[in-house]
């Protein structure tokens, strides 16, 4: 026993994977902090899955290293008590029940079989515990994967595209669960290409494209750094009068006739409209979102190499 990590920081440094033709991951370095949900983002084929598999010792790196709490995954004495991972939805024997699938893992990890039932309860799969895996829906499979990751009550959770196959209710459930787990001080690393979902879920992001790091940090910082600025959208029957009153705000028109103004705040626009006596039907501050930033940052990086 023993050698369960106490600090769940993930450190990736200079990680590289060269396949025959393709450099899937290219000198990648980043740090994932405990107590936060980190979104690991990138276009399809950016090397997200390869990176996660290298962190977990499933794929051997060509160069570089990855440690969890300062230890390589292969050197963890009790890996499942330190790290839980959900890597693909369909990773159980079709003819085995969900409960038996978890008990097999418990046996290998030296965990009591009762943990299987507790984990099933945690993910709400208890009613389907004795059903065979082949009868599980995609969402149930994803839940079973999360249950497997939680068996050892790990400090660190690594999930590859966990939202795939979940319905909106399931996505909501997973978001709450992951945020709760991070709130308990665990490290939560989630890869995804669903940016709007990540903006709701993640505290930090690591963005990669073509196997290289593009940006990392708290979501707000990354959005700020990217240089995309906010704008104000306003709808009025007298746009020219409003523009004259605002004096100097850069503007453009949307297809349905709304004005998009940059360089001014919504307060300034509202005050100007009042003093000019212009009616305002809509006034919205538009923040640049993660999707916009992501597309800007990853533009020009070939997704398919």
């Amino acid at each position: 026993m023993g050698n369960v990590i106490t600090d769940g920081e993930i450190v990736v440094s200079g990680l590289t994977k060269q396949y025959k033709q393709v450099r899937a991951v290219d000198g990648l370095s980043f740090t994932i902090r405990p107590g936060r949900v980190t979104g690991f983002l990138g276009p399809n084929g950016a090397g997200k899955t390869t990176t996660l598999r290298m962190i977990l010792n499933l794929v051997s790196p060509t160069a570089g290293s990855a440690t969890i709490g300062g230890v390589r995954y292969a050197d963890l004495a009790e890996p499942l008590r330190s790290v839980g991972a959900v890597l693909e939805a369909s990773s159980a024997h079709k003819g085995r029940t969900g409960r038996n699938h978890l008990r097999v893992i418990c046996a290998a990890a030296g965990l009591p079989a009762s943990r299987a039932d507790e984990a099933l309860e945690l993910v709400g799969l208890t009613p389907a515990a004795k059903r065979k895996f082949k009868g599980y829906s995609l969402g149930m499979r994803q839940r079973l994967g999360i249950a497997a990751a939680m068996l050892g009550d790990p400090r660190v959770l690594i999930l590859d595209e966990p939202a795939n196959g979940l319905d909106p209710e399931g996505i909501r459930w997973m978001r709450d669960l992951l945020q709760k787990l991070a709130g308990e001080g665990r490290t939560v690393l989630v890869s995804s290409h669903l940016l709007s979902e990540m903006e709701l879920l993640a505290d930090d992001v690591v963005i990669i494209a073509a196997g290289r790091l593009v940006a990392q940090g708290p979501v707000a910082d990354v959005i700020g750094q990217a240089g995309s600025v906010g704008s104000v959208r306003v709808r009025t029957p007298r746009p020219d009068a409003l523009l004259a009153a605002l004096d100097g705000a850069a503007s453009s028109r949307t297809e349905d006739g709304a004005l998009v103004l940059t360089g001014v705040t919504a307060e300034q626009v509202g005050d100007a409209a009042l003093s000019a006596g212009v009616a305002v039907h809509e006034l919205v501050t538009e923040r640049p979102d993660l999707e916009r930033v992501f597309l800007d940052l990853t533009a020009g990086k070939e997704a398919i190499r």
Partner: protein, 279 residues
């Protein structure tokens, strides 16, 4: 130890093990019946026209086979042919399932030391083989007693050579599980591994025998005939033949060949598994 428990649980929690056990035992009954008929009409009471004009070596082999020790060994190890095949298939499936159902990821996450996983599979497969051997032998011993008594022959069950044949048969069951695991690691595709192994086991054995025999008589190199014993299925047969029959190598040659196959396939497979990317 907990890895072996985990591997047992994997075998126990799917249908494969009992389907294979039922298959092996069903074919055991068939094999025993065929062997009994073969011994009765071929060795003990052959029709006169069959023995007429028989070459002297063959007649000699025939009379050696009719000895109680040889007969008892032969009958008690009935069902070996299909039993070993099922044990091998189980070995193949315990490995290829991990790739077929994509559970290799889960398995290697729980145990990053892949060699330990393969060893645990070997241990679990070997024990399954021995259990099947125990059940098989528990059925063939009384059946052999009944058959030989009805033929008016005193069974030589207590004879050292017969006991040796029975025990070596157990070894064969265990070793074939290891060979199966070795094949499974070498050929990860479940269908590919299963079909390759079955073709080699059935057709391949016969083909090698024929080729070797043809070459031997063409080239008149008598030593060449011994090459066929390198085939694992013939080697296990040789190992459990009880007495040394004329024209055959010693029983322990078969044991060595079999151990060699298990070690070589297992070793290469383990080395491959250690370095292979799991994705």
């Amino acid at each position: 130890m907990r890895l072996i428990r985990s591997e047992f649980l994997k075998i126990r929690t799917t249908n494969v093990w009992w389907l294979f056990a039922v298959g092996a035992l069903g074919l055991l009954v068939l094999a025993f019946a065929i062997n009994a008929l073969n011994m009765h009409f071929g060795v003990l009471a052959p029709p006169p026209e069959a023995t007429e004009g028989m070459p002297p070596e063959q007649a000699e082999a025939l009379s050696a086979m009719a000895e109680p020790v040889a007969l008892t060994s032969y009958m008690v190890t009935s069902g070996q042919y299909f039993g070993l095949m099922f044990v091998m298939l189980l070995g193949i499936i315990t490995v290829t399932n991990e790739f077929h159902h994509q559970t290799a990821t889960t398995t290697f996450l729980a145990t990053p030391h892949r060699t330990a996983v393969i060893l645990a599979k070997a241990a679990a497969g070997g024990v399954f083989g021995i259990v099947l051997w125990l059940v098989t032998t528990a059925l063939t011993v009384p059946a052999t007693l009944i058959f030989l008594n009805s033929e008016g022959i005193t069974p030589a069950l207590g004879d050292g050579e017969v006991v040796r044949a029975i025990l070596l048969n157990g070894l064969a069951y265990a070793l074939w599980a290891l060979i199966g695991i070795g094949v499974g690691v070498l050929i990860r595709s479940q269908i590919g591994a299963t079909i390759t192994a079955m073709v080699i086991y059935t057709v391949g054995t016969i083909a090698v025998s024929i080729i070797v025999n043809v070459l031997t008589s063409l080239l008149e190199w008598d030593w060449l005939a011994n090459v066929q014993w390198a085939m694992p299925s013939l080697a296990s047969n040789l190992m459990t033949s009880g007495t040394d029959l004329p024209g055959q190598p010693h029983y322990w040659v078969g044991a060595l060949v079999l151990i060699g196959w298990a070690v070589v396939t297992g070793l290469i497979g383990t080395l491959l598994t250690r370095t292979r990317d799991v994705s």
